[in-house]
């Protein structure tokens, strides 16, 4: 936000209208957030192959401002791409809490949505939303890169609806307590 307030006057000078730019703080900040949705480089299973294909040149995720980051501390969104096994559940919660707010989660594919074909397994968590709040679900096994990009577009639409005053900068489900993992309780 500090970067936006520092640099926006300089950007506005280059605009045809002159130095004055009237908008709401919500719009500017949400526009900045949605234009740089940086996901965590984090693949769990075969959906990660489709995720890598989305990042590559044929589908070109860069044009939406999606650049994979190697550390959760620089990431805005976690794409849970693949089967969440119970052994991996605790690390996922830990990584989720290492991400700065506002943070978003995209649940990619059947396994991350509900367990998928492993629903009856002894070792698979039946949906990543049992352990962390999820913003966008993508159906498919695995979803195509276009589906993942559509999910990011949907997430951008969601980010544009965020209000600073109402949520104090946090995502809606985190507004009433960021450590609350139960989305029903978090939303009150």
């Amino acid at each position: 936000m500090g970067v936006i307030l520092e640099r926006l006057p300089g950007v506005a000078k280059g605009l045809p209208g002159g130095e004055l730019l009237l908008t709401t703080a919500d719009t500017v900040i949400d526009w900045g957030r949605k234009s740089s949705v940086w996901p965590l480089t984090f693949g769990l299973a075969c959906c990660a192959i489709e995720m890598m294909a989305s990042y590559a040149s044929r589908f070109d995720f860069d044009r939406m401002g999606v650049i994979p980051r190697p550390t959760p501390r620089q990431a805005d969104v976690m794409i849970v791409a693949g089967t969440v096994v119970k052994k991996m559940a605790d690390p996922i919660i830990q990584i989720y809490h290492q991400m700065p707010e506002p943070r978003f989660v995209i649940s990619m594919g059947s396994c991350a949505n509900c367990g998928g074909p492993y629903w009856d397994s002894y070792s698979v968590v039946k949906g990543v939303d049992k352990i962390i709040p999820v913003d966008v679900y993508i159906a498919g096994c695995p979803p195509r890169p276009e589906a993942l990009q559509y999910a990011v577009i949907k997430l951008q639409e969601k980010i544009m609806k965020m209000k600073l005053a109402a949520t104090r900068g946090a995502a809606p489900q985190q507004a009433s307590g960021s450590r609350e993992l139960d989305p029903a309780k978090a939303l009150g």
Partner: protein, 189 residues
């Protein structure tokens, strides 16, 4: 050394070894009757040039179990509407299959110079199965035996560190056993 020569020498050296009726692919496959002879057989095989232990795995030969456990035969009535008369008695055993109360260990060793592969099978009782560990002979056996212990509950005597390797600590029981019943944990909400 070719396959026939190996089999005849194995049979001459050890009493309880015989060729199985069905081979694993086309490799020489033998069955060992006494599990306690495993160490002797494999140390002899290693001296003959079988320097590489490809894998250790195990099979549970228990037949269909209670519907609560993991029944491997498909239940054709599972998707009928409620109250409909079942069309097939379920679960059914595959006719002719030798179900028995046994866990079979399968070892595979390679003679790298002779381009030879040997499969060796040993049957253990399902109650408290135990076999001597090969971890002192082959380093591969360390983790492979831990996996067999984790998934099927075979105890390997003399193993340096026989602990779970795949499943998390809170999973109780041995999941690949046919009568495994899952105890709900904190992620099964």
């Amino acid at each position: 050394m070719n396959a026939e020569e190996l089999l005849s020498r194995l049979g001459a050296q050890f009493a309880g070894i015989e060729k199985t009726s069905v081979a694993v692919k086309d490799y020489p496959t033998v069955r060992l009757s006494d599990p306690s002879a495993l160490g002797a057989v494999f140390s002899w095989l290693k001296k003959q040039g079988f320097e590489y232990l490809d894998m250790i795995t195990a099979v549970d030969y228990k037949g269909p179990v209670s519907p609560k456990g993991y029944v491997m035969d498909p239940n054709p009535n599972a998707f009928l509407p409620e109250g409909a008369t079942p069309q097939v008695e379920a679960p059914t055993a595959t006719p002719g299959f030798p179900y028995r109360e046994a866990i079979e260990l399968v070892y595979c060793a390679s003679h790298l110079k002779g381009k030879l592969k040997l499969f060796l099978k040993v049957e253990l009782p399902r109650q408290n199965p135990s076999a001597p560990s090969l971890a002192g002979l082959f380093k591969t056996a360390d983790w492979q035996e831990r996996e067999v212990f984790d998934l099927l509950g075979v105890r390997f005597e003399g193993h340096p560190n026989l602990t779970k390797i795949l499943t998390p600590d809170f999973i109780q029981g041995h999941p690949l056993r046919k009568d495994y019943e899952h105890v709900p944990d904190r992620f099964d909400r």
